[in-house]
């Protein structure tokens, strides 16, 4: 079953086309990364799914049309917006309690305390939201999106301004939710996070869908991308035949750019020919970031 269906979604601001006929579907329980540079249309698309943006086309959440079955669609959805948002009149606990009520959820005190604990906000329960730091406000927004245990959770750069340790714990929590069946759609500029967490990648650029693939396919489809090999030799001894391939040198360690994997044998033969003793060798396969950049260059 598809939990999120986007069909021919377009959005125009005056003469600027922010989204152009975007279509994709997400399976229930999937963990999907939505990638694109700033201004690619990610937030516009998320706003359309959330019901805070007018658009043309069709969007369904858990089978419910976000226009004609707005209430049911919204009940299935939790969204962490990109911009920091807070109600200055409420404290942390009240924010989550009122947020629960807005989704018709009552008597969920235990769940509220659990998400406050998982978001490291327990000691701030009675603190007014306006007194929280930027990172705390962002964690509160994640908690707000989770109060009604939505089937689909959309995270629009949820870790911006959040420190490393709490970020790791946040992702552990999100992974747990995903394992319990919640579908996650994530945008982040931390591509290592996306690479670690997501099973599927959807990439948009200039309002258009560029590609949608499983993460493995996304990366393997780009094996022609250059591989970087790091070689440390004794006394820095190196073959002149390899000079054109060197991209960097730090002390006795050389970084070489291989256009294909066959070149590795050539490198080893050259070093063997001059009897260079190899102390360390690391092969860096293209990662998500390399693939992402290569797509942008096309």
């Amino acid at each position: 079953m598809y939990i999120l269906e986007i069909e021919n979604v377009s959005k125009v601001y005056g003469t600027f086309s922010a989204l152009e006929n975007i279509s994709f579907k997400i399976d229930a329980g999937d963990f999907v990364g939505l990638l694109g540079v700033n201004g690619a249309g990610k937030t516009t698309l998320i706003s359309a799914i959330s019901g805070i943006n007018h658009f043309s086309g069709t969007i369904k959440v858990a089978g419910y049309d976000v226009i004609t079955q707005e209430k049911l669609a919204k009940l299935s959805l939790g969204v962490v917006p990109q911009e920091i948002a807070f109600d200055p009149f409420l404290n942390v606990y009240q924010t989550l309690k009122f947020q629960s009520g807005l989704y018709g959820v009552q008597k969920n005190k235990e769940w509220i305390y659990e998400i406050m604990e998982r978001m490291y906000l327990s000691d701030k329960a009675n603190v007014k939201t306006k007194a929280l730091s930027g990172g705390m406000k962002r964690r509160l927004m994640v908690a707000q999106a989770l109060v009604h245990k939505p089937q689909v959770l959309i995270l629009d750069e949820p870790t911006a301004g959040v420190d490393v340790e709490i970020r790791k714990n946040l992702w552990d929590f999100i992974k747990e939710l995903n394992k319990k069946g919640h579908t996650i759609l994530l945008t982040s500029h931390y591509l290592d996070e996306v690479e670690e967490l997501c099973h599927k990648i959807i990439m948009i650029d200039k309002g258009k869908l560029v590609t949608q693939k499983t993460k493995a396919d996304f990366i393997s489809a780009n094996e022609q991308l250059p591989t970087i090999v790091e070689i440390e030799t004794q006394d820095g001894k190196f073959s002149d035949n390899l000079q054109s391939m060197i991209v960097n040198r730090i002390d006795n360690t050389y970084q070489l750019r291989l256009e294909n994997n066959d070149q590795l044998l050539f490198v080893l033969n050259c070093l063997n020919a001059i009897e260079a003793k190899i102390l360390n060798l690391n092969l860096n396969k293209p990662n998500l970031e390399d693939v992402f950049i290569s797509y942008l260059k096309r």
């Binding site: 805070i52 943006n53 919204k74 948002a85 109600d87 009240q94 009122f98 947020q99 009520g101």
Partner: protein, 253 residues
């Protein structure tokens, strides 16, 4: 409790957390008006309001605060939510436009009436008041009067994209209309006919006069006309407000 009632509760809680601004402030303002104007005009020639001036002034000042506070509630809540970004959490919640609109409106009416009651307690003893002439009329004009300004507050909040816009609508449109609506004087006493006609075009005049009639049995305007006019005007304003809320103008992109 349904999401609709939760939003009403949230909006009501919001103004109750700042009682100095929303309850005690209006009490002090009304007390000062009553003290200064009452003492100055109680025995002045030409006040000609048909009652002791202090008695005449009490319902006017109560309604002034009812109207001002219900306007302030919805307008400030919406513009503040836009600024803090919190509006997205309201818009993303499973509430229809009519529920959203209704919640803002009802909480504005609640604030208007609570402020009015607080002001009444504070200044009633200045006047020579007895049991209200008509409780039904008093309640009608309290509810429909604050519904008009609560609705206008929603409209102002939606249309304003800056605090400046809201301040402008309040300073140049709303406040003059409310202050000139016979709060402090009887519009029939205006000597210049053209000005009197203009004064009688002020819709808040009928709210103030209707409420005054219910409270002290005064006859500045035709009560039946006031009831119809205020009721229909409230429906019209709130229908426009609802259409704006549904369209999402300045709220959705």
């Amino acid at each position: 409790m349904s999401p609709f009632f939760v939003l009403i509760r949230k909006e009501t809680y919001r103004f109750l957390t700042v009682p100095v601004q929303t309850i005690f402030g209006p009490m002090v303002t009304a007390f000062l008006y009553q003290l200064i104007f009452g003492s100055q005009f109680q025995h002045a020639q030409g006040s000609n309001v048909g009652f002791e001036y202090n008695t005449f002034l009490v319902p006017g000042l109560v309604m002034l605060q009812v109207l001002s506070n219900s306007f302030a509630n919805s307008s400030s809540s919406i513009i503040q939510s836009k600024y803090t970004g919190n509006l997205v959490f309201i818009l993303m919640a499973p509430l229809t436009a009519i529920e959203l609109y209704g919640a803002y409106l009802i909480s504005s009416i609640i604030r208007g009436i609570l402020s009015g009651m607080a002001v009444f307690i504070c200044i009633a003893w200045f006047g020579n008041l007895t049991w209200p002439h008509s409780w039904a009329t008093v309640c009608y004009f309290l509810i429909f009067g604050s519904a008009i300004t609560g609705g206008l507050g929603v409209i102002a909040g939606i249309l304003s994209t800056k605090f400046d816009h809201l301040a402008a609508s309040q300073t140049f449109v709303f406040t003059p209309l409310v202050y000139l609506a016979g709060v402090f004087y009887n519009v029939d006493n205006i000597k210049i006919p053209s000005l009197q006609i203009i004064a009688k075009l002020d819709p808040f005049l009928y709210v103030v006069d209707g409420f005054r009639h219910g409270l002290i049995h005064s006859f500045n305007s035709d009560v039946v006309f006031s009831i119809w006019f205020v009721g229909l005007f409230a429906v019209l304003i709130n229908f426009i407000g609802y259409l704006l809320m549904r369209s999402g103008v300045n709220m959705k992109h």
